[in-house]
């Protein structure tokens, strides 16, 4: 693998978009991240407040997966090992860069506890984004994370106005159960990402449906 390979890989993607989006979201997070908005929950007197940073971190979390999309995706899927090494490096690099920089910004702007919760949530959403990307195509990586938001916001709160154990985007930063859920989702995403060689067998019907529905 050479620098030239990496340059070719980046050339095919809107790679400059990642840092721009992450920087914009980070600025917005520092400025308005601590503001709380109300979201409907189906419990007595059902309004829960939701700090804005919780949802903004999702945009950062899915960036590494979304930006794997390439106009030559079908061609690249048949590429040799050299290519995959570049892709793994690119993914790992963007995960560290985007999630890391957002966590640091959140730490400085919103405090350490908040930054840790944001990091846990981003890890979970990244796992879902990888899963979604493998299932529906990288540019549709946003699908499952967005659906998860609906589930987390609607069912994530208990009657006593506490968050349920699996609410990985809102439980306290030292809560181990939600950390296990987040880690599990990340592992699932990673496993699906690595399992590309036999995805053809696994997801063949889905892939056919996808190419027809476009």
């Amino acid at each position: 693998m050479s620098i030239e390979d990496l340059r070719t890989f980046l050339f095919l993607r809107r790679c400059w978009f990642g840092p721009v989006v992450v920087a914009l979201v980070s600025v917005v997070t520092v400025v308005v991240g601590h503001h709380e908005v109300a979201n409907p929950v189906p419990i007595a007197e059902g309004v829960a407040t939701l700090p804005v940073w919780r949802l903004l971190s999702l945009i950062v979390a899915i960036m590494p997966a979304v930006l794997l999309h390439s106009p030559l995706g079908e061609l690249e899927s048949a590429a040799v090992r050299e290519y995959w090494r570049v892709q793994h490096l690119y993914l790992a690099g963007s995960v560290v860069l985007y999630l890391g920089s957002f966590t640091v910004v959140a730490w400085l702007g919103l405090g350490g506890d908040t930054a840790l919760i944001a990091l846990r949530a981003m890890i979970a959403w990244l796992g879902l984004a990888l899963l979604s990307g493998r299932m529906f195509g990288w540019s549709r990586s946003w699908l499952l994370p967005l659906v998860s938001v609906a589930i987390l916001l609607f069912w994530g709160m208990d009657t006593g106005s506490t968050y349920v154990w699996w609410e990985f985007s809102a439980r306290p930063h030292d809560d181990w159960k939600s950390a296990v859920v987040a880690g599990g989702l990340a592992l699932l995403g990673a496993a699906i990402y690595w399992a590309r060689s036999w995805r053809r067998h696994l997801l063949h019907p889905l892939r056919r449906a996808r190419s027809l529905s476009r």
Binding site: R14, F17, V21, H35, V37, A38, N39, P40, V41, P42, I43, A44, E45, G46, V47, L50, V52, L55, L56, L58, I59, I62, V66, H69, S139, R140, S141, W142, P145, L146, V147, V149, A150, L153, F154, W155, G160, S213, R214
Partner: protein
């Protein structure tokens, strides 16, 4: 008919079963206190609109540049149909699929309440209209974002941004985009909500008419990059329509307005408890509570009494800064509320009312020992009126207060017979009177 024919082949159709599943789960995978009360049923069916709007915004943003993404821009540029017609179909199909999913949820929820056929069905259409606005506005806004941002990024920004905007303006901005409780003392102002829907439709029109940058291959020297001419007139016109219609709605008043009182539904003889007719479902519970009140020792009950559900005879004034002015009647007010289907709230209010009218006075606020006794009595009254028999713990709060509340709770829910409970209560009242001899004599 032709439009329906086109919609049958719309790409957005694959979304329909998924949205229906989301909608129905949000209606049914929750408590079912809404069953049997029309406004509550409509509100339960309307709540998912916020989440359907989020998904519709993301999908609209994802679809807006589908032609370019799939490399069809060049071919479609040569089609006889103008671009806005193709976009109209895109926007209409996403809006239709979202609204159909919403309507399916609504119909199923209404079918659940139908067998009980309570009064108050006329409140339902308002809530249905209320939920249309976020969905239609989300489709329009998502389509606009999708036209100018890369599809995948537009999708997530539209979904998250749309949700945050509705959440912000809905509760904190006080616009009530969706509501979470259908209290019978309020109703949806149809005029305000219709203006909102009209504004959302105008936003969709703007989204369709906004010009897009032509693909690189088609940017010749003789053609401008943006086909401006027609949109230059139509887009500002639609924006003006959108803003003025929305402003008209805002000027007309809040979306959720107070209802005029109606003939109440009353239960009980000596202690009459009156409900909004829409709350017919709670009439048996209220009748039981009324009987238990009548069985209480004389020390508690006046000759005849009436308590009204909130809004029937008495309203608190909500001040501009959001605080509530309870006026002089704070403790003695003969008003109770049914919060989200919890009859526990009724007995709590009635217990306070009985205490205040029977024996309590200002002393209960001023002397700590007197306060402790009233806490015990109120807690016992509340749980006795609710029927007792539910051993457990009072939720922890202030430990001192919690201890007194727990003592009253234990008496109501323990092994004591009704007569023994009454004896205990009378002793407590005697104790109170020994501390505060001047209270309750009027």
């Amino acid at each position: 008919m032709r439009l329906i024919g086109v919609l049958r082949h719309a790409n957005a159709l694959w979304l329909l079963p998924f949205l229906i599943a989301v909608d129905l789960s949000m209606i049914f995978l929750r408590d079912d206190h809404w069953v049997g009360v029309w406004p509550e049923t409509a509100v339960a069916a309307q709540m998912p609109a916020m989440f359907l709007a989020m998904l519709a915004a993301a999908y609209a943003a994802w679809t807006a540049r589908r032609e370019e993404r799939l490399g069809l821009a060049e071919q479609l540029e040569a089609s006889v149909r103008p671009r806005w017609q193709r976009e109209l179909l895109g926007v209409a199909s996403i809006a239709a699929v979202t609204v159909v999913a919403y309507c399916v949820g609504f119909v199923v929820a209404l079918a659940r309440t139908l067998p009980q056929s309570p009064p108050g069905f006329s409140l339902v259409p308002g809530y249905w209209l209320l939920g249309l606005f976020p969905m239609l506005a989300a489709v329009g806004a998502g389509w606009i974002l999708g036209k100018y941002l890369p599809s995948a990024i537009a999708a997530v920004v539209a979904g998250i941004g749309g949700f945050l905007a509705f959440a912000y303006f809905g509760e904190i901005g006080g616009e009530r985009i969706v509501v979470i409780s259908g209290y019978p003392d309020t109703h949806v102002d149809l005029f305000v909500v219709l203006t909102r829907v009209a504004a959302a439709v105008a936003l969709c029109a703007v989204a369709i008419l906004l010009p897009v940058r032509k693909p690189r291959s088609l940017r010749g020297a003789e053609q401008p990059s943006y086909p401006w001419a027609r949109p230059l007139v139509l887009v500002p016109a639609c924006v003006v329509v959108m803003i003025s219609v929305f402003a008209l709605g805002r000027a007309a008043g809040p979306a959720i307005a107070e209802r005029a009182a109606v003939d109440p539904l009353c239960r009980g003889d000596q202690m009459k408890l009156c409900l909004w007719p829409e709350h017919e479902k709670y009439a048996p519970v209220v009748a039981e509570i009324s009987q238990r009140v009548e069985a209480l020792p004389d020390i508690f009950v006046r000759e005849e009494d009436v308590a009204w559900e909130y809004g029937l005879r008495y309203r608190v004034d909500r001040l501009d800064d959001g605080t509530v002015d309870l006026g002089d009647e704070e403790q003695g007010s003969s008003t109770f509320e049914i919060f989200d289907g919890s009859p526990g709230a009724i007995t709590r209010e009635i217990a306070r009312m009985i205490s205040w009218r029977g024996y309590q006075g200002e002393c209960a606020r001023e002397v700590d020992e007197a306060r402790d006794v009233t806490l015990r009595i109120d807690s016992w009254l509340e749980h006795y009126l609710a029927g007792g028999g539910s051993p457990g713990q009072i939720p922890a709060g202030d430990p001192e207060v919690g201890e007194q509340l727990q003592r009253g709770f234990d008496v109501a829910n323990g092994d004591l017979s009704r007569e023994e409970q009454f004896e205990w209560a009378e002793e407590q009242v005697e104790e109170y009177r020994s501390i505060c001899p001047r209270d309750g004599q009027s």
